[in-house]
């Protein structure tokens, strides 16, 4: 049975742990707010980009001459996975979920006889994957969003690398694995194929085509030609998709950490209560024991 002093020490240590976890929760909450604002701020660009893609896509005939980013390389032998995790832990199952998902995907592709390469964004994912599949990792990005803000330049670095690899013919299909931010309580690991790119639905745009000129599908003019614009839009769009994934992941990380730290704080509280009860019992037992000793001592002296 632990002594009274040991109980006291344990209570003090759990209390300080609780202080730390509740502070971390608070910090995560404020970072989450910032991350959410940032994700919202990136919305107009993504929407405008989507609009433009749709408009251009409505006027482009997809064929063998189309950019490879759109139609693919005609093979799906070589895969590239971009896995987005966080740099720091203590965020519940946030990173573990992504790593599990990525591992599943990698195993599946390897089992199908495909060639797999991985780009890791975030330290946590890299550390785990390096141990078991180190030879698959071609590049890792650490420190993105470290200053509490994800810059587009960071996303651009990743997308430049992906494009370079693609243009050099190192892979055919690229999949982005990241945590989608659904709500503060729910982040879902998703795998989104970003190369070859699927064009947004074009049906709605085709309805308002002017009838007098059949070859013009929409009243828009393009400068330069739509094919060339499409060729420039696609890489841009890639950057945006990666950027949005990073933003989602950053917001999700803070949300997951907030939830995890909230739980930890609550558990610490429970533990303190339990320890306090035990401490009080032990103290009472000790007092009773001393009393018995004193009384029996007095009794013995009397007799």
């Amino acid at each position: 049975m632990p002594t009274l002093k040991e109980y006291r020490n344990r209570i003090v240590s759990v209390k300080s742990t609780k202080k730390i976890t509740s502070a971390m929760k608070m910090v995560a909450a404020s970072k989450l707010k910032k991350a959410q604002e940032q994700a919202e701020a990136s919305q107009p660009y993504a929407a405008a980009m989507n609009d433009m893609m749709r408009r251009v896509a409505a006027n482009v005939v997809v064929g063998p001459h189309s950019p490879n980013l759109l139609v693919g390389t005609g093979s799906d032998k070589k895969h590239l996975l971009v896995m987005v995790t966080s740099d720091r832990g203590l965020a519940g199952g946030f990173n573990a979920n992504i790593i599990r998902r990525a591992r599943l995907e990698i195993r599946k592709l390897i089992a199908e006889g495909k060639d797999v390469k991985v780009i890791c964004v975030g330290r946590k994912g890299r550390d785990v994957l390096k141990r078991e599949l180190g030879d698959k990792i071609i590049e890792s990005f650490i420190g993105i969003g470290a200053k509490g803000k994800v810059n587009f330049a960071d996303a651009d670095l990743v997308s430049q690398l992906v494009l370079e690899q693609f243009n050099a013919g190192h892979f055919d299909v690229c999949t982005l694995i990241y945590n989608e931010f659904r709500s503060v309580l729910a982040q879902r690991p998703v795998a989104a194929q970003i190369i070859p790119f699927t064009l947004p639905e074009v049906a709605a745009v085709n309805e308002n085509k002017p009838p007098e000129k059949p070859e013009v599908k929409s009243p828009y003019s393009f400068e330069p030609e739509e094919d060339i614009i499409l060729g420039q839009l696609l890489p841009r769009n890639l950057g945006i998709q990666i950027f949005r994934a990073l933003l989602d992941s950053a917001a999700g990380e803070q949300a997951a950490r907030m939830t995890a730290m909230d739980n930890a704080t609550r558990n610490a509280g429970d533990m303190i209560n339990k320890l306090s009860v035990q401490y009080n019992r032990a103290r009472q037992a000790y007092i009773t024991k001393e009393l018995i000793e004193i009384i029996s001592g007095a009794e013995a002296a009397k007799g």
């Binding site: 107009p44 405008a48 609009d51 370079e164 929409s218 828009y220 330069p224 614009i229 839009l233």
Partner: protein, 143 residues
């Protein structure tokens, strides 16, 4: 038919991936298109264009003009709207010609030390950008 009222205004938006930079009514916007500069007035025909690195000049509804450098992007123009998607946008007044010249010198130096073609291409991209910035500051706008 559209009312080509030059006195009127149209909605202008400048958005970067990180946030919406400018949003408001404008009288006229000059955009450095890939195939040449073009001006946008209210009632401009619908157009989608790519933009080369250069300076976008906006005359807002209140007559105040702004000069913003953008590092390339896209313009989406309709008779009532003009949206510019820019990867990087900086107010021209924030540039310092001396700094830019220094950057160009550094990059030119890096260029000679570049190991492979990829690196060279990356530096060349930066170089073009910085040169375009410098042009925006010194006011010499070449086509």
């Amino acid at each position: 038919m559209l009312d080509l009222n030059i006195q009127g205004t149209f909605t202008f938006e400048l958005v970067s991936p990180e946030r919406k930079l400018i949003s408001g009514a404008a009288k006229m916007v000059t955009i450095p298109g890939e195939e040449g500069d073009f001006g946008v007035l209210p009632g401009h025909s619908a157009l989608v264009a790519t933009i080369r690195p250069g300076v976008v000049e906006i005359i807002m509804a209140d007559g105040v003009s702004q000069r913003i450098f953008i590092a390339g992007g896209f313009a989406d123009v309709s008779p009532t709207n003009c949206t510019v998607l820019a990867e990087e946008a900086v107010n021209v007044n924030d540039f310092n010609a001396g700094d830019l010249e220094q950057t160009i010198r550094n990059l030119t130096e890096d260029m000679t030390m570049a190991k492979d073609d990829f690196e060279k291409a990356r530096i060349a991209r930066k170089l073009t950008l910085t040169r375009a910035k410098l042009q925006g500051v010194t006011g010499k706008i070449s086509a």
